[in-house]
Every structure is written in structure tokens, then in C-alpha cells.
Symmetry: C2
Subunit: 141 residues, 2 copies
């Protein structure tokens, strides 16, 4: 359940919405009849973005991806999870990176303490050439 | 203009939509009367995600962010740009990272050849402690 996606209705014109969406970095969609503008706060200024970059041993790439399947599915259902996915580098298939978006730091903290994360973490670590590089960000622009 | 956000209408139930959204990694919203389900392909399996991580000299952080303001605004208007923003690391304010999402590699290529990118790139480079680390990804899970 993507509970992290907040919806906000607008009453002004499409152009004004586009300008606001560009300014705040949020996404919006136009739908319904009469027209409603819904602003999705995902990608907004207040969310937390995580980049967790893994250098996976060449012979362990398939195992690593298999282990991640249940983790991704369970995490996407978490309260406060806006987006969470495993991404493969185009030029180096051994670089597998989680790109994550959370409503706030508290949601991220709960994820790191969840059973599905804590159980799989040591198994994932066994597949790595070196420790995962983790950076946690907030949007500036 | 967020032209990269594709909308797709659904006719099945909310639960089925949630399951599909989780499976494909795409976002969806429910709106209108009668209810319509709109799937946003942003965050989907086929987009290109870029992580461009900059280590900025401490005394140049404000200058770097100022230079990036016009770049972010111009890039968000580009055809094929789904999301583009500058993010600051919570524990190290000198790490400033572009997190980007593009419809395809061709859109990214056009961005890298755009005047607003080519003109600002050398100015940004002068603010850095070392070369920008760039990784280009496609979603696996």
C-alpha cells in the first residue's frame, strides 16, 4: 500500500500547477470530470532519499537479486515507504543499488528495525565484495 | 512540464491495482467520480535512474547550490525528464547529489548535450574536491 503518496487537491489552473510542481519538485496529475489536480508529495522537499550501493561478487549477483525479491515486496508495503527498488548499473552489472524514498526519518528507522530487513541483511552481506555504501539525503532543490 | 509521467487508466479493483503497483514498482492514484485508477509510470521498471554524487569544497557549498538552481529548473522542463533534484547528505552537508529519473537513455543524452548543462558543468566542477561519481541504473526489482 503506497501510503506515502499524499494527495492534495488544487483549484487553480493547470499552468499554475505545473509551475508549483516544478518549484517544489513534486509530481501532479490531472484527472476526473470536473477536472481535479492532484499533487503527489513523493519527490517533494521533505521526504528522505536513501542510496544504498552494493558491490556484489560476480558469482553472487543472481543469488543477491533472488534474496532481494521478498525484501522489496515487503518493504513497499511498509507505512511511510514512498518508493523502494533495486537498481542495476548499466555498465557494471555487479553494482546493485537500492534507491529509496521515505516519508520521514522515523519511517526509515522502522524499516531498518523490521524483521524482513534484519533477517535478510546478513545473507545479503555475504554476497558483497565490500561494505554497502549508504547515503541519506533530503532534497535541497 | 512533467511530460515523463505517463497515465494509464485501470478498470479493476483497488486491491488488484495495489498489487500491480507493488509488482511493477509504479505509483498509482485513485481519483474522480466514478473512480478512476491512474498508474504513474515514474518509478517504473523501464526508466533510467542517475545518481551523480558530488563532494563539494566546504567553502563552495553555497555557490554550488546557487549555480544548481537554474540548472534544476531548466532540466525539469526537459522532454523525458521525470524527476531531477539536488539532494544534501544529512550527515555531511558537503555531499550534494543529483538524483535523476529519465524516460530513456535518449532523454538523458539530450540533457547532457543541452546548453544549460554544458554551460554550467565547468563552473560546478570548480567547486568540487574530486570528480563527480556518476552511476546510471535501470530498475531490476
Amino acid at each position: 500500500m503506497r501510503t506515502g503518496i499524499k494527495k492534495r487537491k488544487f483549484t487553480t489552473t493547470g499552468t499554475a500547477r505545473e509551475n508549483e510542481a516544478i518549484k517544489t519538485g513534486s509530481k501532479y496529475v490531472k484527472c476526473g470530470n470536473p477536472v481535479e489536480y492532484l499533487c503527489l508529495e513523493a519527490g517533494g522537499l521533505l521526504t528522505i532519499r536513501v542510496v544504498a550501493k552494493n558491490h556484489v561478487k560476480p558469482e553472487k549477483v543472481q543469488k543477491f537479486m533472488g534474496l532481494c525479491r521478498n525484501l522489496v515486496e515487503a518493504t513497499l508495503k511498509e507505512e511511510g515507504c514512498i518508493d523502494y527498488g533495486l537498481h542495476q548499473e548499466l555498465e557494471n552489472s555487479g553494482i546493485l543499488t537500492f534507491l529509496e524514498e521515505w516519508e520521514d526519518e522515523s519511517s526509515l528507522g522502522k524499516h531498518l528495525n523490521s524483521n524482513h530487513f534484519r533477517e535478510i541483511f546478513p545473507l545479503l552481506s555475504e554476497c558483497l565484495e565490500k561494505e554497502t555504501e549508504v547515503n541519506i539525503y533530503r532534497r535541497s532543490l
